[in-house]
């Protein structure tokens, strides 16, 4: 077993969790109940087999290069997030993989089959939730699922899907009368009616309120437990942070960074920032910490921010502060996130690019 101390992104509480090396699971903050996904260090996911192999993919519309020679692999059983602002080329890429659009150049292998010639052979094994999908308005939830399942030879148990997606109380409701969040849950459920090996979810939470978004996240997180490979496109960094095992950041048709959340933050983030609140003597504290070689600045109201490039240095800073008898009210450590990664890579905020 390994122990992990993590800070709750909502309330800031430091919480300790234990897990098996390599285990990934959703944990809840005991103080505020916020869910987060944890990857315990050590071990490896059994993902040696590539479910999707994209090679030198390119898509050009007249004089617009939507996708510019991108290559990546998606491993079996992982949640792969394709993160980028609107218009970056996410949907074009996923729709080429789904054989909805034709590529200008490049190749895609899905479950080992070339989609140009063998897409029909993989239809039974994939499930898709298109962007801004709305199903038949005048069918009930159950009728909708039954309709789509009957299109396949391989059919999952509809009742099991309904239970797994927490849709039991809505089975007799017409699709048109469902809330946005429920519609998306039904959309995800539809993508599972053939018990697929790979599920494509194209911006599944766009337009949803935070509560509904979180509900859909839990549904997607459950797909990993069911052994599905999930290809998720999103422009919400929190979504990728919460769900993804592997993230590819796409910007203006190019993949500009790729890796696990930790890898991306380590490689492209600015580390962590320690916020020392209400220092008794901020100017003197700044001088002391600068002498020790830290990157320090005042943030006003007696608060100080100390840049910490590696998390191992946190204890070092605390130790130096104790030795210098620096007095303060409290300390808050903020870790670098995908927003910062994107900012560092592109010079623009992800939100501004939308």
């Amino acid at each position: 077993m390994v122990d992990m101390n993590v800070r709750c992104p909502r309330c800031g509480e430091i919480v300790s969790f234990s897990g098996i090396p390599g285990e990934r699971r959703v944990v809840s903050c005991p103080s505020c109940g916020t869910d987060a996904r944890l990857s315990f260090p050590g071990g490896e996911i059994q993902t040696s087999e590539n479910t999707i192999e994209v090679s030198h993919l390119r898509k050009v519309y007249d004089d617009l290069i939507a996708v510019d020679d991108i290559s990546f692999n998606v491993k079996k059983g992982e949640i792969f997030a394709f993160l980028g602002p609107n218009g970056a080329g996410k949907t074009t890429t996923v729709e080429i993989i789904e054989s909805i659009r034709k590529p200008t150049a490049g190749s895609v292998k899905l479950l080992g089959k070339d989609i140009k010639t063998q897409f029909n052979a993989v239809k039974e094994y994939i499930g898709i939730l298109p962007q801004e999908f709305h199903s038949f308005e005048r069918l009930t939830v159950r009728e909708t699922l039954v309709y789509f399942s009957k299109l396949y030879k391989k059919q999952a148990n509809i009742d099991e899907i309904i239970t797994a997606m927490d849709l039991t109380e809505y089975t007799k409701k017409l699709y048109r009368n469902l809330s946005g969040g429920l519609k998306q849950r039904v959309g995800v459920a539809i993508s599972l009616v053939n018990d697929p090996d790979v599920v494509f979810l194209d911006e599944p939470t766009t337009g949803l309120d935070p509560k509904a978004r979180r509900e859909v996240w839990m549904v997607i997180a459950n797909l990993r437990k069911r052994g599905k490979t999930v290809f998720l496109t999103t422009h919400y960094m929190e979504e990728a942070e919460f769900l993804a095992d592997h993230i590819a950041i796409i910007h203006k048709g190019n993949i500009i960074a790729e890796g696990s959340l930790e890898e991306l933050i380590d490689q492209y983030g600015t580390g962590s920032t320690m916020h020392i609140k209400k220092c008794k003597d901020p100017m003197e504290t700044i001088d002391i910490l600068k002498e020790k070689g830290y990157d320090v600045l005042s943030t006003g109201n007696g608060d100080i921010a100390v840049k910490i490039p590696h998390k191992e240095r946190v204890l070092e800073v605390l130790s130096d502060m104790r030795h210098a008898c620096i007095e303060y009210e409290n300390i808050d450590i903020r870790r670098s996130n995908l927003e910062e990664v994107f900012l560092n890579l592109t010079g623009a905020k992800l939100a501004e690019e939308k």
């Binding site: 054989s99 239809k123 994939i126 801004e132 005048r138 009728e143 789509f148």
Partner: protein, 369 residues
């Protein structure tokens, strides 16, 4: 071809239809409402009739013969003007839209024509130019009657004559005319708007993209939708016929040409809907485009009123409209049992259907660019 998938998709279309109040209204209640309404409005005048005032200045056996011929035309109501009246004053005083004068010497000239082939006499037709509708019909009836009369005098062959005209018009009540038109109109609306929903709304909602990634093929899906469209067309035809028979006592003949024209019409207007859906991506705009095409066609193709009541150029224009041939073909097949004309109009509908449906299928894509 997977018949199970076609069946599953057909059931979904049926459920969607039966649960849509709007579609039920437009496909069943609206045609029923119009049949009841128009039937009630025109129930007093079973066939369109025109009054023709005639002044016989000759009062001969020949003029009497001609008058008898005109009186036999059911569509005409003949009223006589006293020979002593000044015709122009009389027309003005009685605000007449049209009147005909048989001149003095009419009979003598006819008698002379047996010896002198150049002998001729003209009837005078006074009309109000502002009343293009009825006067043009009356003028064409007089023209036909004169041709018939000339033919009779010259002992010519009787292959084409007034008899056939009068036979049709005498049995052709307004409601008989209206019900086939209403059936054609309803099928047109159902198919165009249904097709647009499938090609714009389903595209916008991602349903087509979703289906593209499932095992259902485009052919299976299209076949299922066309089967459902044909079912709807037959169902709305049945409802219109039942109302016609039960409420207005219309005698409707069901035959192969009627069914053929109904099915061909379903393909024809579904094809037009697909073409609209291909070029107009927004659902609302597509509905407007469909209205812009179907509503003028409804009025110009003789759905509600006989084309003969319209100016000549509109009558000619109607002949390029597919709905004209649908309406005429259905009337020929269902009401007048004129199978030659039903075949003629039916074949034109089939040709239109082939052209528009094939064009629609070729233009409609599931895949994105």
């Amino acid at each position: 071809m997977n018949l199970r998938i076609i069946g599953v998709d057909f059931v979904v279309s049926f459920k969607g239809w039966i649960r849509s109040k709007g579609t039920i209204f437009w496909s069943i209640f609206f045609p029923v409402l119009l049949i009841l309404l128009f039937g009630a409005i025109f129930s007093g005048s079973d066939s369109p009739s025109y009054t023709l005032q005639i002044q016989d200045l000759d009062d001969s056996q020949s003029s009497q013969m001609y008058l008898d011929m005109l009186k036999n035309i059911s569509i005409l109501k003949i009223e006589m003007i006293n020979a002593s009246e000044n015709i122009t004053d009389y027309i003005q005083k009685n605000d007449l839209k049209g009147a005909m004068v048989i001149p003095k010497g009419f009979g003598d000239t006819i008698a002379l024509s047996h010896i002198d082939k150049d002998a001729s006499v003209n009837l005078s037709f006074y009309f109000d130019p502002s009343d293009q509708g009825s006067t043009s019909v009356v003028r064409s009836i007089i023209g036909s009657s004169l041709q018939e009369f000339n033919l009779a005098l010259s002992k010519g062959s009787h292959t084409i004559g007034m008899d056939s005209v009068s036979t049709i018009t005498s049995n052709f009540k307004y409601i008989d005319f209206f019900i086939p038109g209403m059936i054609g109109f309803t099928i047109m609306q159902l198919c165009i708007y249904g097709s647009i929903e499938r090609n714009t709304k389903y595209r916008k909602d991602g349903i087509l993209r979703k289906l593209l990634t499932t095992p259902i093929t485009r052919t299976e899906w299209l076949l299922s939708k066309m089967l459902f469209t044909m079912f709807l067309s037959l169902f709305s035809t049945l409802i219109a016929c039942l109302i016609g028979i039960l409420v207005w006592g219309v005698v409707i003949h069901v035959n192969l040409w009627m069914i053929t024209i109904i099915f061909a019409t379903s393909f024809l207007f579904s094809g037009i809907g697909m073409i609209i859906g291909r070029f107009v991506k927004e659902e609302e705009t597509a509905d407007t485009a469909a209205g812009a095409i179907s509503f003028p066609m409804m009025f110009l193709a003789g759905t509600f009123f006989p084309l003969q009541q319209m100016p000549m150029f509109l009558q000619e224009f109607a002949k390029v409209l597919p709905l004209y041939y649908v309406n005429e073909g259905l009337r020929n097949a269902m009401i007048s049992l004129d199978f030659d004309k039903a075949a003629y109009n039916g074949i034109i509908v089939i040709v239109f259907a082939l052209v528009f449906f094939i064009a629609g299928v070729l233009l409609t894509k599931w895949k994105e660019d």
